[in-house]
Subunit: 340 residues, 2 copies
């Protein structure tokens, strides 16, 4: 242990809670910030987070609190596990407290207008902070229940990666390092789009060949887009690329998958969103990504097809017909784009 400061975890959702527990189990004191004082009270009273992680005991060294200044003031290493919609507004007011901190984002998403990823927003808010991203095939409930899990800490800052590995790596949680922050984070943000597709395929009763084809072509498409923007294609062979994509496309509980499933059953997007009671992140990502892919002229047939189904009134059958009729390309055709 080189650092004995407490560690801050921001966000009282399922993943933040699972992370806080892991850190405490590794012997660290954790300041677990959440906006809602009632949630703090509930955790203090019951040592559980019944709303987001029912049935999991919160470790005694996890200290829930609703005072963000206190959490940040006492810690050097800060995990940011806030919803993408809340991240900017939660942290902007405390920007001056973030200078010099190690900020590790676990939040997936793309800001619509700016096309910024969450760590890029952190960078904008806190230019003096050191920034990293944590991403991988990490269903929060399984992490909390100590299923064997692996994740990636990505940063240009090697010392940051080492500190996160030292703090988080444990008996059931393996932490790999990567220097490709942008690629790792983009993988996490893009996968939600393809979870919608996986849900559709499941609703249509498609088999293993089709599921695997879709995941593989999704991976090729994600990689092509990411490489075009400067990411390392190798990142997509790793945990934060294909690993996270497999988990997300195999997890019927995710909202993205459920939207896709509803669409596959023949519901309209409006009806699907009504059934779910909320908009899934991937729905917004499709819009943003379609526009960006056109602007950059990157070939993304799956995104284009999903956009046509969700927003242009095309049927699933029409889009599948179109995709299968298209000229067969080379298998990993982003190679030429990548320049090697």
């Amino acid at each position: 242990m080189t650092e004995q400061h407490p560690i801050a975890v921001l966000g009282g959702g399922s993943f933040g809670t699972a992370l806080a527990n892991l850190l405490a189990e590794n012997g660290r004191h954790v300041l677990h910030w959440m906006r809602d004082p009632e949630q703090v009270e509930a955790i203090l009273a019951t040592r559980e987070n019944p709303r987001y992680l029912k049935g999991v005991k919160i470790h005694a060294d996890v200290e829930p609190l609703s005072d963000l200044g206190a959490a940040l003031g006492a810690s050097r290493l800060v995990f940011v596990a806030l919803p993408s919609s809340a991240l900017r507004q939660a942290l902007q007011p405390v920007a001056e407290l973030l200078a010099g901190k190690l900020l590790v984002s676990t939040t997936k998403g793309i800001e619509a207008q700016s096309f910024k990823l969450m760590s890029q927003i952190l960078e904008e808010i806190a230019p003096q902070a050191r920034i990293g991203v944590l991403s991988g095939p990490n269903l929060a409930k399984e992490v909390a229940e100590h299923a064997l899990t692996a994740t990636v800490i990505a940063s240009e800052d090697e010392a940051l990666c080492q500190q996160v590995q030292a703090a988080l790596h444990g008996r059931t949680f393996r932490v790999y390092a990567s220097g490709d922050r942008f690629g790792v984070e983009l993988g996490g943000a893009l996968k939600n789009v393809y979870a919608i597709m996986a849900g559709m395929a499941a609703a249509l009763g498609m088999g293993e060949n089709t599921k695997s084809m879709l995941i593989t072509r999704a991976l090729a498409e994600m990689t092509r887009f990411a490489v075009h923007q400067g990411a390392n294609p190798m990142t997509f062979l790793g945990l934060a690329g294909v690993g996270d994509l497999i988990v997300t496309c195999s997890s019927p509980k995710s909202r993205n998958y459920q939207v896709g499933f509803a669409l596959g059953e023949g519901l309209s997007l409006e009806e699907a969103v009504e059934r779910l009671g909320e908009v899934a992140e991937g729905v917004n990502t499709i819009k943003v990504l379609k526009a960006k892919a056109e602007e950059l002229q990157v070939y993304m047939p799956l995104v284009t097809g999903l956009h046509a189904i969700l927003f242009e009134g095309r049927t699933l059958e029409q889009v599948i017909e179109l995709l299968m009729r298209a000229e067969p390309k080379t298998d990993v055709d982003f190679i030429s784009t990548a320049g090697f």
Copy 2:
């Protein structure tokens, strides 16, 4: 259609039969060779292959026959879908008929003594032939039932790839091209090892995080090995790499998966093989691969761990403990090996 010769398919198993049907549906006459004259009679009488592909109607333009010379003499394009154990002995006697042919291997396997892949054996037998490999996430039954499926034709010979695409690509079967024959074929051969691992994990009730971690680390390990031998790492992002790996690790019906499942339930290898009634291909591949990896000094912890369980009397728990305790590495650590 630039070529109007019949097409030969060698091997009356499930995949050969599915391929023959696809080719006939695309308007080609198919000479479908199988060793057993009784199987030929059965197909002629019933227009089904009841032993290997029950319930699928054989197309009228598929002509089953047991005369290998006749099948080869009449055709230029030949698909080789023989079992790996039978390939060499079936084709060596007709070697002189193979000169100038387009030979496409669909057989997965590694010859134990020579560490040769099937297309390398074809090359040895028929140095004057043009050689390709077909591989991908292609469960034969799903192909035959027209589930949307994608595959890869790989060869240094671009004209061969184009001819195979023209002959095979159809409404439900997409054929992508690749120039990395060795990488594509190696992916198909190595995946069987990891199907054993996936079966074990399933028997132990492991969750999605673990499954995804194992598939991803398997992919990294396969890629590291393949790149060390000159394959293109990008191939493993494609259908014949991760695509086939996902299907194989998700298909409880494969023999490799079933051996792993039995081992995960606590049976010994002998007991597992006894339950199955035969040895799975992956069991032999583990032996061969372990030796090769040591010779080449390529780090393959999953292969080493599987070898320890199957042949060195280690328990699954000991190996998992060892794997999880190992120092965390970088996520895609074969990058440095690949030289970029």
